[in-house]
């Protein structure tokens, strides 16, 4: 009985999510009379483009308002509970000083550059580079609503399987599956960590929070596990809602970014609200959307064979848990594992944060086909102190 009771909230959340996805098309956010899914280079560089950005601006403003309101509520709640210690903690912000930590690593610079370049490619790739690769499907890296995209998107046809068989010839269908699965296997969730524009947006939100010294929400493995039903439900909804007459794209938050930023007139339904949710949630919890993203989960299924691996030297690990604390996906085995040297997890988005925060030499590393790309080192962890003359008397004032 009690077990059944415990399931009730999860069941309710699942039903709610299913209803949201099904009725997504009936909840307008910003609609156009006439949708224009094309843009030209002239239009692209005209003032018209800026006008088209309006929905995105609205989303950002609303998200900012939501975040500020939530922060106020949190402070108010602490104040109301007369918990002035917690209130003070929420209030205290960096004023001029900083925590000396690590210097920027080459790996992270590469990752940020990749994210920025690929995000621009998704939006404007077709316009700038042409359509030579149009037949190849790439998971995530394209939004079908943007007819000027550089490559074909996998997610659209995964969400509209009947359309795939209607629109494409046999060769096209084979190319679709081969390229989708091929990229998913070759890159795995490196796509999430390095290429996905939604990832970039979420990482920026996290950067803003960290810079402002605002307290976030910590999610350990148990809390992440609570999201598991939602995550799987979204996969089935994505693959199946089209058979029930639903439209998954009206739900997908990505619709509110790449086509809109590319300057198209796209009507936004629930997507707009979902994007606000993504921005707000990723502000408090880094990469929150990634832990329920259905496309990410599908790509993650290849984690057993993908050539990108997270390797662990189980002996030099001290189980300090810094990697687990740093992991935005709440992967726990990375610090508890003591037998297998391979700790690549289905949920791992290959962002490399665990390796960057690992203080033990070589305890963690990212490899591609056996070649090490990035490894943990004590030196890197304390690199902020390098060349800083150890002076006497430089203490707290």
């Amino acid at each position: 009985m009690s077990k059944a009771k415990k399931r009730i909230p999860a069941i309710l959340i699942c039903i709610g999510t299913a209803a949201l996805v099904y009725f997504a098309g009936y909840i307008p956010f910003y609609t156009y009379q006439e949708e224009v899914l094309h843009t030209t280079q002239e239009q692209f560089f005209s003032a018209d483009h800026l006008v088209k950005l309006l929905p995105f601006v609205i989303i950002v403003l609303l998200a900012a308002a939501c975040i500020l309101i939530l922060l106020q509520i949190r402070e108010f709640a602490a104040w109301k509970r007369k918990d002035d210690k917690r209130y003070r903690r929420l209030k205290t912000k960096p004023k001029g000083s900083k925590v000396i930590g690590q210097k920027r690593s080459v790996f992270m610079t590469v990752r940020w550059c990749c994210m920025i370049v690929f995000s621009l490619l998704v939006m404007f790739g077709g316009i700038v580079l042409g359509f030579h690769l149009a037949g190849i499907a790439f998971p995530v890296l394209a939004c079908p609503t943007n007819l000027d995209q550089m490559v074909e998107s996998s997610c659209y046809f995964l969400a509209h399987i009947p359309a795939l068989f209607e629109e494409y010839s046999a060769g096209g269908i084979i190319l679709f599956f081969v390229s989708t699965i091929g990229f998913a296997v070759l890159l795995g969730r490196v796509i999430c960590g390095f290429l996905c524009p939604m990832g970039l947006i979420q990482d920026i939100m996290d950067k803003i929070r960290q810079k402002s010294g605002t307290e976030g929400i910590r999610m350990n493995e148990k809390r992440h596990n609570l999201l598991k039903p939602v995550k799987w439900l979204l996969v089935f909804l994505m693959l199946g809602i089209t058979f029930a007459g639903g439209e998954f794209c009206s739900f997908c938050p990505a619709l509110a970014t790449s086509p809109v930023l590319a300057g198209l007139s796209v009507s936004l339904y629930l997507s707009g609200f979902m994007m606000i949710f993504v921005l707000v949630s990723s502000f408090f919890k880094r990469r929150f959307w990634c832990s329920i993203c259905p496309m990410g989960l599908l790509i993650g299924l290849t984690h057993k064979i993908s050539p990108f691996r997270i390797k662990k030297d189980v002996q030099s690990c001290t189980e300090c848990g810094a990697c687990y604390e740093a992991c935005p996906m709440g992967v726990k085995i990375i610090y508890t594992e003591r037998e297998k040297s391979d700790v690549t997890d289905m949920n791992c988005i290959m962002c490399g944060e665990c390796i960057r925060k690992c203080p033990e030499d070589n305890a963690l590393a990212m490899t591609f086909a056996g070649k090490t790309l990035f490894r943990a080192s004590r030196k890197q962890i304390l690199s902020g102190f390098e060349n800083r003359k150890a002076q006497k008397g430089g203490d707290v004032q």
């Binding site: 210690k85 000083s97 150890a390 008397g393």
Partner: protein, 440 residues
């Protein structure tokens, strides 16, 4: 009545005089032996000088800081927080034989000598570093630590820190709350609100000392005979009585000197002596008999896995989230998770740490040090012995107390152990094969 009182006073005075005499003499003897040990780098002097000031001249090296002093009894009380509050920490775990003999009458016979020494110092109220403490933080890591709280409360404000028994998510969360409580107590003490900036500065002060230590360990790994282990223990022990920034400054000098030594391949000893590691109960000055015996009998203490030595300070606090809460979490995480203290149930990570150290410092034999009455460490001996047996690394268990009665016995056993390693080294083929098999 009055006469009796006077008599009592007289008696106490004489006892104090005797205590001071005996303690400074014992400390001086051990300090001299440490100084006489050859191969010390020049930059070791300030560290030895610190020990001299504390134990011989009975001064408080922290007095000139003009800040409240917070005594800590374990590395699990984060120094960062204490600095952030505008106070300065001192580690009070003691190794004094004289204080031990007094504490012997105060606490139960089976209590560990470290606690007996603490009780002795507390009773005599002579040591400035104890006397000047405005607050004492006692992480409850074992039964003895738990019970000295009451004892210390007679003369000092004490803050017991509840250390979790395992390292699960909830345990770390609980320790975060514990640290918040400690923080409030510190704020009350100094009258200063700990802001984000204060905490960041506290993290940076301690972080710098961790950085210098990591540089030092790096140098040591590159050359196993760089410095004698007894001298390294002096360096680590001095950290207990110095502000972290001053210690980091001394450490910087030492690192500079050792960098040159590594470049010129200058070793502390000319021959390849058996490389021995000590693990187990803490080795606190002046209880230096075991490291001194190892190095006087022709071995070298190449590494130590004890909490007053390298282990207590080598794990950095990794700040993952730059909010105030994130920094406190980093401190709680660092205190609980990487700590290989046997106070935790399931302490398998200690075995891996020892294995890694054996590899890093090319250890040939392990001495398992147990202070009499230190049950938790004694419990883990069997596990470690089995594992080292599989690796083909000889290990002995040495039990000792805070007195010199067992010195001869220790000498004989350490000498035999060193001979055993030498013998093993001669039949080298066997050993090498065994280690390769057991090691991986």
């Amino acid at each position: 009545m009055n006469a009796a009182d006077l008599h009592e006073q007289e008696k106490r005075k004489r006892q104090e005089e005797r205590f001071r005499n005996k303690m400074t003499k014992t400390s001086a003897r051990y300090l001299r032996r440490m100084e006489e040990l050859k191969g010390a780098p020049d930059s070791l002097a300030p560290f030895l000088q610190t020990l001299r000031r504390v134990y011989l001249e009975m001064e408080n090296p922290l007095a000139d800081q003009e800040k409240p002093i917070v005594g800590t009894y374990c590395v699990m009380a984060p120094q960062e927080l204490i600095y952030a509050a505008g106070a300065v920490p001192v580690k009070l775990c003691s190794g004094s034989y004289t204080a031990f003999s007094i504490g012997d009458d105060i606490v139960p016979r089976d209590a560990c000598p470290l606690v007996k020494a603490v009780a002795g110092f507390q009773d005599m109220e002579l040591m400035p570093i104890y006397r000047d403490c405005s607050l004492m933080a006692v992480p409850i890591t074992c039964d003895c630590k738990k019970k000295i709280v009451e004892l210390l409360e007679k003369t000092h404000d004490v803050y017991p820190l509840q250390v979790p028994v395992s390292r699960e998510d909830e345990d770390v969360d609980q320790y975060v709350e514990e640290l918040y409580g400690f923080m409030d107590r510190l704020e009350e003490l100094t009258g200063r609100e700990i802001t984000w900036d204060h905490l960041a500065k506290g993290m940076n002060i301690v972080g710098r000392s961790r950085y210098e230590l990591s540089r030092f360990l790096e140098l040591k790994k590159s050359m196993p005979y760089l410095m004698k282990g007894t001298h390294i223990l002096a360096v680590m022990n001095a950290a207990a009585y110095l502000p972290a920034d001053v210690w980091a400054g001394y450490m910087h000098e030492l690192n500079e000197e050792l960098t040159v030594k590594v470049r010129e391949r200058q070793r502390a000893v000319s021959r390849d002596l058996p490389r021995i590691m000590v693990t187990g109960s803490p080795l606190v000055f002046p209880n230096m008999k075991i490291p001194l015996l190892i190095e006087e009998m022709g071995g070298i203490l190449a590494a130590d896995e004890t909490c007053m030595g390298e282990r207590g300070m080598s794990d950095p606090a990794v700040v993952v989230d730059k909010s105030f809460d994130g920094m406190i979490r980093a401190l709680a995480n660092q205190a609980v998770r990487p700590c290989s203290c046997p106070t935790f149930v399931n302490n398998k990570e200690r075995i891996f740490r020892i294995r890694q150290m054996i590899e890093d410092y090319r250890i040939q034999g392990v001495i398992y040090h147990v202070l009499r009455g230190c049950l938790v460490y004694d419990f883990e001996y069997k596990l470690i012995e089995e594992e080292l047996g599989r690796m083909g690394i000889p290990v002995i268990r040495l039990e000792s107390d805070y007195n010199e009665e067992d010195v001869e016995q220790l000498r004989i056993r350490i000498e035999a152990f060193i001979e055993l390693i030498k013998l093993k080294e001669q039949n080298n083929g066997n050993v090498q094969a065994g280690r390769n098999e057991g090691g991986m």
